[in-house]
Each structure stands twice: as C-alpha cells, then as structure tokens.
C-alpha cells in the first residue's frame, strides 16, 4: 500500500514539526542570542552566553553534584532492582503480591512522591540538614519510586533466559553462585544495559525531586544542572539566552554519554 500514508502521518508530522523541530532550531538560535525572558531577542550574544553560563558560581558545583548523584543512584537502584527481580522471578500468588508492592510506588509521579517524602521526612528532624544527608534522603526517595520499574525491565530479561540453559549448567555441576555469575549476568547484559542507559539519563536530568524535596539546599549543595538551567531561565535570572546555551551543553553531554554507553555496552556484549 502506498496511497494515503502521508494522510495518516500528517498529525504526527505536525506535532513533531511544530513542537519538536521548530523548538530545537529555536533553542539553537536562542543560545547565541541575548534573549531576555520578557525582553525577547536583543541580538547576537555569542560566545558570551556560553562563557557566562560556565562561569556561573554554581556551574561546577552543580556538575559535580549531578555526577555524584547519578553514580550513587544508578549503582544502588540497579543493584536493588536486580535483587528484587531475582526474588520475584518465579510466578505464583506470593510473588505476584510482591511484584505489585514494588511496582505501586511507580504509579505516583516523581513530584507526588517527592511531596510525600517531604512530609514524611518532616518527622525526622535534620534529615535534610546537611549536604550528605540531603543527598541520601533523595536517593532513598528515588530508589523507592523507581526500583519496581527497573525490577520489571530486568524481569523481562530474566524470563528471556531459557530454562534449558539453567538445566545444562546444573548438569555440568554449577552451584547457584556460579550459575548467577556465568549464566544469568552475561545473558542479562542487554537488559542491564538498557536499565543503565535509562537510569543514567534520568539521573543526569534530575529536577523534580531536588526542586521539591531539598530546594537545592542546604547552601545550594544539592543543585543539579537542570535546576541551574531552570534558575537561569525562569527562577530569577530571567536570561533565556544563557539558559538555552547551558541546556545545549547538557544536550551535547547527554548525547556523548549515551554514545559512549552504547559503544561500551555493545563491545562487551
């Protein structure tokens, strides 16, 4: 069939054109312009947008904090998710209940979950009081919200491993630990890779949880890079040009990180 394809694809093309392609081109232009939130375009301002974004006193602390948060969250979240997936691997009523329990927090939005923990933590005075505690409290919230989601992705991978492979390992005399290390982990690699990419991307772009739970505090110690973009654009500085420049840098770093991840994970597979 050839006739009519474009007729059906037109709404998609309109959406993608108006709300994705045009904004991408516009953000590129904004990043090289002196563009105020209310004043609009006031002419070319390059490379000043980029240099002033990087020279912001919160830029390097935000980069460092975002990297730290990403590493901590990814390691803990995927470790726990793998454990949960192994725990509920068999299919019966009890594991069905367990799966639902782990998955329910994922139905809440990240903002709702952050508000919930904001109220919950109010009963534990000082838990958001130091930079270290604020980070770990947020990690706790994020692990609660997302562990079931990654458990489910890993469960799909686990169920793709045929029973005959385990049977062969058993006949060869492999114990449980050897089976896990030499059978489960290697065969689970594609699922683990997908989870890693999703988790790293999501953590690098963290916003809601810190905006709501820690408000970037104490002493701006938990400001992430996307929070900095938001602050530059809408949170007081009202400088869309500078924010656009920073967000272009974020986009480029994200693309680079994902290319490296895809390459690295593919080579090892």
């Amino acid at each position: 069939m050839n006739r009519g394809g474009w007729a059906y694809a037109t709404p998609t093309a309109l959406f993608v054109g108006v709300f994705f392609v045009v904004p991408i081109l516009l953000v590129g232009r904004m990043s090289i312009s002196d563009w105020g939130l209310f004043a609009g375009d006031r002419g070319v301002n390059v490379p000043a947008n980029f240099t002033s974004a990087i020279d912001d006193r919160l830029f390097w602390p935000a980069v460092w904090f975002t990297v730290k948060y990403t590493v901590v969250t990814t390691v803990i979240l995927l470790g726990l998710a793998l454990g949960l997936a192994l725990l509920v691997q068999e299919s019966n009523r009890w594991t069905g209940f367990l799966r639902t329990s782990f998955l329910v927090p994922g139905a809440l939005g990240l903002a709702s979950a952050s508000l919930l923990f904001y109220a919950l933590y109010s009963h534990l005075p000082g838990i958001l009081g130091t930079p270290g505690r604020a980070l770990w409290s947020t990690v706790g919230l994020v692990v609660w919200r997302f562990a079931g989601f990654y458990m489910l992705l890993l469960l799909v991978g686990l169920q793709g491993i045929g029973g005959d492979v385990y049977e062969a390992a058993r006949l060869d005399g492999a114990d449980r630990r050897q089976t896990f290390r030499h059978i489960t982990l290697p065969l689970l690699r594609p699922s683990l890779a997908l989870c890693t990419i999703l988790c790293v991307t999501g953590s690098m772009l963290a916003f809601d949880q810190f905006y709501i739970l820690t408000k970037g505090g104490p002493d701006n110690s938990t400001i992430t890079i996307v929070q900095l973009v938001y602050t530059m654009a809408f949170g007081g500085q009202n400088d869309l040009g500078r924010a656009a420049a920073l967000s272009i840098l974020v986009l480029l770093v994200l693309l680079a990180v994902n290319i490296v991840q895809f390459r690295g994970l593919r080579e090892k597979a």
Partner: protein, 265 residues
Amino acid sequence: MTRNTLAGALAVLFLFPLGWAAVASVSPQAGTAQVDGWGLGNYRTLAAYQAGIGQYLLNSTVVALLTVLFTLVTAVLGGYAFAMFRFPGRNVLFLLVLAILMVPYATLLIPLYVLLNQLGLQNSLLGLALVLAMFQLPFATFMMRISFEAIPAEMREAALIDGCGSFRALRHILVPAVRPGLITVGLFAFLAAWNDFITPLVLISDSDKAPLPLAVANMRQQVMGIVDYGATEAGVVVLALPCVLLFLALQRHYVRGFMSGALKG
C-alpha cells in the same frame, strides 16, 4: 524461609510510605488543621486553598484527558501509517519521533515557552496538553506501530478486499484489534500528564490554571513560610489515589508497556 521473610519485609517497606500518607492525612498533628482527634481537617484546608482543590483537580483532569486524546489520535494514525504504508520520508519521520526521547525536557521547554507565546497558547491548558502529548509520542507511536504490525496480514487484506477504504478498515476492523495497545498508550499518557511537574511549572504562570502537583507544591510556601504538612499529606493522597487505582485496575497493561519498551533495547 528467610527468603520469604526478607521479601515480605521489603514489600512492607515499599508499601509503608503510601499507607503512612493516607493515615497521616487524617490523624491529629500540631501545626495543621487537624490538631485534636482524627478527621478531615487537612482536606478542608486543601479544599479552601486559593482557587480551591476543585479547580486544580479540574485543571489536572482537563490536561490529562486532552493529552490522552491528542496522544491516542496522533499515535493511532501515525502508527497505522508507519506499519502499513510506504511513503517518502517515512523513516526520517519515525526517527524524528524517536529523537524526542534524546532531548532533555529542559532544553525543549525554554524555546517552547517562547513559541507558545507566539502561538497565543501561553499559560493555557490546551498548550500544556499539546506539549505533554508531544513528549508521549515516541512511546505511543512505537507502541501503536508494533501493535498494527502484529495484526495478521490476511486480516488487513480481507478488510480491504471487502471494499473497505483504508480509513474504514482502520476504524471498524483494525482499531478493535489493537485495543490492548490503545489501553497501554492511554494509561501511560494519562499518568504522565497527571503527574508532570516541570512542564506546567514552566508553561503555566497563572496560579488558577495550575494542575494539582504544582498547586500542592506551591501550597507549602503558604502562611508566612510555615509549612502545613497536614495539607501536603492530604494533597499527596488526592494526587496518588487515582494513579494507584488506575495502576491496580490496569496493571497487566502497565507491565505490557514496559515489556515492549524493553524490546527496544
């Protein structure tokens, strides 16, 4: 069995915050509207906050339903086009749809703020729903495409040979066949739109037009900087309840969505 004990303890740990929020929202607590005994004082505070919770619930419902509508219509037609037709630019368009996933929300929201102003859609629930639907398109289009591709070729051909035009075939025969995909896409679009925070934070400046998550978050700055945790707890319950119920009712479809997501990798 220690394994079962561990698993049970973990399940309690995961369910605890939800149960706690529900109980705390009606229990007595200093500094809230519910100081003595159990009751709905916190919900009354919530109901009376600024434009009233009814308004914010309405905003959220309108945005979520519009997002579901835009997402479903666009993704069904688009998925049908990608699955059944060969047309020039087909692969480029599909790749562009998937590319939405690669771009951070923040990067898109800055130009979208300016663009919606120029389109006269600033500060409007319609504009918000259009943007949220765009964010849903990669998953929704992918899901509908594989749903249509999974329909046996004989069934499609039979519909066309019987004299159906391609649109009638879509409406009467193919859409019913992809109903599970439709439910999954609709559920995800609803949850995403209901829960989204940063998009309305940037695009909605009029507090009367705020969706519920934004309104509850703003509520914390009320009354001379003293936070009413009780009202926040009530707000969380109102926010979470529809999501949890929808999730429990449609859990099968929720799981299905993740499974097809996993196939991508």
